[in-house]
Amino acid sequence: MHQYVFVVIGVLMAIAAVRLVTTKNVVHGALYLLMVLAGAAAIFILLLAEFVGWVQVLLYIGAVVVLLLFGLMLTRAPIGRTALDNQSRALAALVAGAIFAMTSMVLVRAFDGQMIDFSQTLTVRTLGGVLFTKYVLPFEVVSVLLLAALVGAVVLAKRDE
């Protein structure tokens, strides 16, 4: 059952991902991105990481895509049916290919051969416990990184005034 659902979600995600890079309309692109992210959330839930799945919905769909659409609409998205295109395809393909290769390598090296035990669910309590004990250092590093990005964004925005 899990496998069939996974295949359906995977195919939908792949179609949306291809349309995301081929569409000529930026807002449509953002909406295809939304479909891909929703599919990722569904896969997290399918793999029993329920909390991570809903975090994906709250943060990526409820905040990241919303802000992306917000920014697009405030700045460059023409209303209605207008096409936009970008010619730097080779560079984009190179960057995307490099990111794909790197993340696949990291994932394979970290989890190769590991199986998910479907008989026991991952509770939020366990997740929180592990996050604040075993992985507390990476967690704090990520927090500092995000804070730095936040401060940087404020500085960049303030400079215009």
């Binding site: 909406l31 659409l69 609409m73 209605g80």
Partner: protein, 338 residues
């Protein structure tokens, strides 16, 4: 009779029957919006010293919203020529989904819940954030500058008020030590009617929730007189009735039910002596209706905020206040009170 009971038991053991019953719960939502809509018409009329609808259906115009619904169904489905048809048509589904999905985790009684998810409250807040996408899509796809302005205002507001809403709920989660909705209600047993250690969270949550459902005094994004219901200007007929009206009222009911669960003890009775299992859904409905009534009352009491006041209030007052509140609840957590 034992045959019938046995049949019932076998039926209830079938997962598909259970699924059917659970899905049918969502069908109650549409009639509920009609009732809440009618009550709101009456409440606003009486606050303004009017009678409100009096004719449809005979008795005090009880069928007014039903008649409105039938009228909407008969209307022509208009899509502007310049509109992006696919995106335009997808909007009512998204707004409806964002509004209705939260009901999956709302406990009307300890057993009366569609699914007591372990991440309960977090799930409810996550799905209600889907609606923002619908609003932005509506504003952009309509190819109308007033719609776009309305959508941008609404998205700005929903993002700003989502933060205090989530932080206020986080304080309750700290108290309960669980995100499951049933656990949250049970953790309020020592307080029964009002979860007083969460008094400040309750105020923050109610203000942010009013802004999330874009009701006055936080209705800048749909300001009829300035930008003609904002993102939904171009919507008419069924799309308008479902995408805006029904979804708005369902979200309104959902947030009141969430507030009841988080702060007013959910299905717990007002005094411990009345704690009788079959009566629990009644307490829940009474508390939810009271919150709905108070929010309607607020709507006709306070004037609309200005856009800059609205943003300043969210970021400079509510967010710092809700962070301070989390410290406060954390300190209370060290005492034997909670």
């Amino acid at each position: 009779m034992p045959d019938l009971l046995q049949l019932l038991e076998t039926l209830l053991a079938n997962p598909w029957v259970i699924l059917g019953i659970k899905l049918s719960v969502l069908l109650i939502l549409l009639p509920a919006t009609l009732v809440v809509g009618y009550v709101e018409l009456k409440v606003m009329a009486h606050i303004q010293h009017r009678l409100g609808p009096m004719y449809p259906g005979g008795f005090h115009g009880w069928a007014q919203t039903l008649a409105d619904g039938i009228k909407f169904i008969q209307k022509e489905d208009i899509i502007p020529r310049a509109a992006d048809r696919m995106v335009f048509a997808a909007v009512p589904f998204l707004t409806m989904m964002g509004a209705a999905l939260a009901f999956v985790v709302i406990p009307v009684g300890p057993q009366w819940i569609i699914e007591d998810l372990e991440v309960g409250i977090f799930y409810a807040l996550a799905v209600s954030s889907i609606g923002v996408i619908g609003v932005l899509m509506a504003g952009w796809a309509s190819a109308n500058k007033y719609s776009l302005v309305g959508a941008l205002r609404m998205a700005g507001q929903l993002i700003a008020y989502e933060l205090p809403l989530v932080l206020a709920a986080a304080a309750v989660v700290m108290q309960a030590g669980s995100m499951s909705m049933v656990d949250i209600v049970e953790s309020q047993r020592p307080f029964w009617l009002f979860n007083w250690p969460q008094g400040l969270s309750f105020v923050i949550f109610m203000v942010a929730a009013t802004a999330e459902v874009v009701r006055p005094p936080f209705d800048m994004p749909i300001a009829e007189a300035e930008i003609i219901t904002g993102a939904f200007t171009e919507y008419s007929g069924m799309r308008f009735a479902f995408g805006l009206f029904a979804a708005e009222y369902i979200a309104f009911i959902a947030l009141s039910a969430l507030a009841t669960t988080l702060f007013l003890g959910g299905y717990l009775p007002p005094i411990p002596a009345l704690d009788w299992e079959p009566l629990r859904p009644l307490w829940f409905l009474l508390k939810t209706s009271s919150i709905l009534f108070v929010l309607m009352w607020v709507r006709w009491t306070y004037p609309r905020l200005r856009e800059d006041q609205l943003q300043r209030f969210a970021w400079k007052v509510l967010v710092p206040l809700s962070l301070a509140n989390i410290f406060f609840v954390g300190a209370l957590k060290l005492t034997p009170i909670i």
